[in-house]
Structure formats: C-alpha cells, structure tokens
Symmetry: C2
Subunit: 331 residues, 2 copies
DNA sequence: TTGAAAGCGCTAACAT
DNA sequence: ATGTTAGCGCTTTCAA
C-alpha cells in the first residue's frame, strides 16, 4: 500500500556508482567526474528521489532548520501587521536556502516547553520578544544556538540584533513638526517598559533639545487606541496651548485624533499630529495620518541573513535599519 | 568545545535499564514497571535529556511535523491580517501536540521546489491557496500526504476543507439592508475568478430573490480599495437610484465610501453600505463600516484539528464556519 | 516486563 | 575520483 520513497542507495544502484558518489553530488562537492555526476542526476530524476531530511540531519549533525519564535505575550506583535510582515521577510531569505522554517508562537507555559524541544531541532533562532525578561530569551540563550533578536528587549542589549531606527524616526517626525513652525510640541509615549517606547521618546527629546524647545508636554500611553485617546485628553487638560503632538504609534494617534475632533481642535491647522508605524489604518484616519514607516519586512530579511551568517561561523554585526517619514494630511 | 547532548543510551545507562525500556517510557507504552519508569524519569531529569527529533523520525518513520503552506500569489492573503490570524489559530492547536509547524510562503518557482522537499519532512499539509489551479494544490495532492484546504479553490471542491460561510454572511448582510427598508440594493463583487467572490455574490442574490427585489445593480471589483472606488463610480452612473450597496470586501467598501462622500451621497441616510471581513480599518472609515466578520482564527484551528484527525487515520468531514454581522454606522 | 539487536537513510572518514 | 563502512540516536521486532 504505502509505497516507500526511493533511497539514496537506490539512486546509487541505478546510476551504477557508490553511495559516496551520490552523496557528493547531492552536496555538490568537488572530486566528482562529469560522467558520474550526470549519471547520478539522471537516476535522481528518473526515480524522483528526494533526500530524507531526518536521516540527513541525523548523520550530518546539522538540523537544517531555523526557528522563528514570537512571544505572543506581546499584543503589539500580533495586533498589527508586524508579525505577518516579518514572516514575509524571513521567508524570502529562507527560500534561497535549504533551511526549513519552524514557527513557534509561544504564549502559554505549555508553549515554552515545546519551545525547548523545537530548539533541539534547529540550527538557529530568530526571536521576536520585546518584553524585558521574556522567558523565550533565556531559553534561546541557554540552548547555545545562534540567536538573532528583532528589536532590542529593554534591559540588556542582545549580542546580535536587528532593529528599526526608532530614535531616528522619532527625531525625523519631531523635526518635521518643528519645520512646520510648531513650537509647543507634545508627545504621547508608548509607556516605559518597552525599548521602542523609550527610543521614540528619546528621538523626540533630541529634536526638541536641538531646537531649544520645551519637552514638558508629555503623556504616557500604552500603544493602544484607547490609551492614546486618554493620553490626548490629559494633554489637552494640562497643556491647552499645544500646537502639535508626536504620538509614538499610529493606533494611539487614531485615538488622539478622535479626541481632538471631539474637542473641536482642527488638525493640522491648530494641532499637527504625527504617528509611528504606518499601519494600514493610517491612510483612513481623518485626516490621513503623517507617520514614520519602519522597514519591517527588511527587518525579517536582515535578521535571517544575520542568523545564517552566525550558523556559518561568521561574526556579523548588529544592524539598525533606517525609518522614513510618510507625509500625509495630519502634519 | 561543542558539548554533545545526552542520548537515550546515556539515560538508559544512568537509570540502569535497557534502551528499550527508556523508549517505552518516552512513548508512554504499557508494560513498564513503576520502578523502571521512575528510574528513567529521574535519569531524564538529571541529564536534561531531550529526544533527538531527527533520529526519532528516522527510526519511527513518522516525521512529527505539519506544514502550513500559503500561496503568496494571493495578495488578499498577505494584505490583510488574514494570514496572521490563521497562523495564530493553527499554532494554538499545534501547541497541544508534539508536532512542529513548518511554514512555507511559496511565491517563486524556487519556492515550489522547496515545497516538495518540505512535504517530505511532514506528516500533513495545511493549504491556503485560493486561486484556481494553484501549483501548490497539485504538489500537495501528489505527495500523498493528508491535505486540508482553507477555503475552497474555484473549480474543484477539495476532499477536506474548512471554509467560512461566505454565502450565508453575504445573505445576512443583504437581509440586513432589506430590513432597513432598502429596496434598490446594489452589490460590488470581488471578481469572478475566486470562489469567495462567487459565494458572496450568491448570498446577495439569494436574499434579494427571497424578498422579490431586483439583482440588476451590479459592478465587479477586484478586492482592492481602488477597484471598489471604480466600481462604485460605475454603479452611480448606471444606477443613480440605488439606496444601498453590499460590498464583497471592506477594502473595496472603503473605496466605495470615498466615492460616495465625493459625490455627496450621505451614508447611511441616502445610501447604506455593508462590507465583508471586518478588517481593522472598518472601524476607522467615515462612517464606521457595518460588515461581516469571519472566524479566521477558528478557521486555522479547525483546519489543524482536521489535519491531525486525518493523520491519525480518521475520516473527518469538511466544515463551514458561521459568519457574523457587525453593526456599525454605515448601515 | 525487560533486554538485545537490527535497522531507519544518510554522511564522512578512510581506503583505494 | 570513487568505493567502503562505521556510525548518527532512536524505535521496534523478537527472545527471554
């Protein structure tokens, strides 16, 4: 009933060569005559031979896979397109190789147990876990495998990471507001427990400091829309004179725009607003949101390239990818 | 330097039993004494033993993995959150098992070659490929592995699939418009080359037919925002008397709303609009979009459950998951 | 209930 | 340049 797939031995027999030769052809080693190589290739074709990955990795002590682990504790990762885009980038690079992509969304404790086992089946780890002390970070580090982080967790800077230039992007956004003639520029931050939030706040402060403007107009959000609305409400109460707001995420900016509209503050005439991330929704807010775009797919690609280098024993250096201001109507 | 992980043999030695016994404990077979079992478990604990998946699958002729293959030819899959949500659902079920999740976004020809090899490392396939004659479908079918489709490709109904009730949802939406007193109800379809588009059109027609209303107000879109705008423009030109539109996707509905606003048609007073999918953006259109929500995460979950049943030799039946009307301001 | 041993399909080291 | 062979770490008969 269950036809067994052809083995390497079968190929060798068919081609009239030894298994060693077949193996050499498969791993395109040198030291194989044209003749032998062709015979093997024909036999492979005729038999429809496909190497058995399990046997291969057992014998070669390679595992032929990388794992992409996403800490789904982090609602920000799953909420927006972030995660889908990163995957697309990762996949694009993986596709060029013989590696397989193992995906783990580790939420539960159960998931973490699994994670350990998955690690034992991989040659390296791509990690998206931005919270401080995420258990995945530790498990990955303990595994001894090469690990590349996406973004920098708060607290410690990972050995190898790829991050978007959050600070630079925030500075870009704020400088844009300044160039518009705004002088009483507030900010809504993403909280204080995440590195992205801090980096964006820092970029905002840098820009203001360089221009000699006050940084006192500040409210903390939590990267959610309702959090953004609440923060905007507070800002308006405490600093009714503000003429611009740099909001650390588009979701929060959407909430802030709602509040501004309710309060009758015209955007951008009276209050200019810039967001961050360029989520799809940014095109549909009223008015359309000026924002900072991160190269998320590129982030996935570069993470994967870096991991492959690490697996090959090279020592790549961490990367910060540039962000870009997308001008729309809100500023 | 490179510490080798402990093997099953090491565990056996430590526990003072044979490798056979350790293996039995690992696969929690019967016929193992309490004493032996405990000794093995202690040894595993002490040594920090983790089974080698490659060796295991080689010996057992199981592969311990399923592949989730997404045809990224299909922009609709990658564009919205669809794909991220499906993955979340798939992951949730996989997490309960010992299976690993292999991810393939197969766009290029190169990707398809890889796909074949990945198939040989898996026990089953979850397939998201909605276009007719998608090469992935054929490759998966040829592999002889159990395959579960998400959605139904046009042309042939797969043996095993999970789909959202597109027809029912469209009917729900249209009946809602009728209940609002609308009688000249138009539709913007998603084209004619995709099963979802057809199913939604069918639901629309059913509702109208049952109410004895005309189905003549029709324009084809392509599931994109600009396509929706263009279709709305045509509709307005050909049927200026329309008082409602059922739009087969939210993206198209967003485009349609833009056109209606430009033309000065008030929504929902003069023209009521219902979309489909409940993408995040639906909450941010002007006015907020009434739409039909699909249980996408559940789709991923049910697909995976079905695949696991197939792998275990059961014969599950295909599934259609209910959709739900989300009322907002546009109808 | 347990132990012993023969592979699973491949790679790599060693011969030739 | 090619053949030979001993494993890789596990499961699974078959005996005991």
């Amino acid at each position: 009933m269950t036809e067994r797939p052809p083995t390497l031995d079968a190929v060798a027999q068919r081609a009239g060569v030894s298994t060693g030769t077949v193996s050499r052809v498969l791993n395109n080693a040198q030291h194989v005559s044209q003749k032998a190589r062709q015979a093997v290739e024909r036999a492979i074709e005729e038999l429809g031979y496909v190497p058995n990955t399990a046997a291969r990795s057992l014998a070669a002590r390679r595992r032929g896979a990388v794992v992409l682990a996403i800490s789904s504790e982090d609602p920000a990762l799953t909420a927006n397109l972030f995660f889908a885009e990163v995957i697309t980038g990762v996949n694009a690079v993986i596709e060029e190789t013989d590696l397989q992509l193992l995906l783990v969304l580790a939420a539960s404790q159960r998931g973490q147990d699994r994670f350990t086992r998955v690690l034992h089946a991989a040659d390296g780890v791509l990690l998206l876990a931005l919270r401080e002390h995420d258990p995945l970070s530790k498990l990955a580090a303990d595994s001894g495998l090469p690990v590349v982080h996406g973004g920098q967790p708060l607290g410690h800077t990972p050995r190898h990471y790829v991050d978007a230039d959050n600070r630079g992007g925030a500075r870009l956004a704020t400088e844009h507001l300044i160039s518009l003639g705004r002088r009483r520029i507030a900010t809504i931050t993403g909280g204080t427990d995440q590195q992205v939030a801090l980096a964006r706040h820092l970029g905002y402060r840098e820009a203001l400091a360089l221009a000699g403007l006050s940084e006192k107009r500040l409210a903390h959000g939590d990267f959610t829309e309702s959090g953004g609305a609440a923060a905007m409400t507070r800002l308006l109460a405490e600093h009714p004179d503000l003429d611009a707001v740099f909001v650390a995420s588009d979701a929060m900016a959407a909430g802030a725009l709602d509040v501004l509209r309710e309060r009758g503050r015209r955007v951008p005439e009276e209050v200019a607003v810039v967001g961050f991330n360029d989520i799809v929704t940014a095109q549909h807010t009223q008015p359309a949101l000026t924002t900072v775009r991160q190269p998320i797919e590129a982030l996935g690609r570069e993470m994967t390239r870096m991991l492959i280098r690490l697996i090959n024993g090279e020592q790549p250096t961490s990367l910060i990818l540039p962000t870009e201001l997308i001008r729309r109507d809100s500023a």
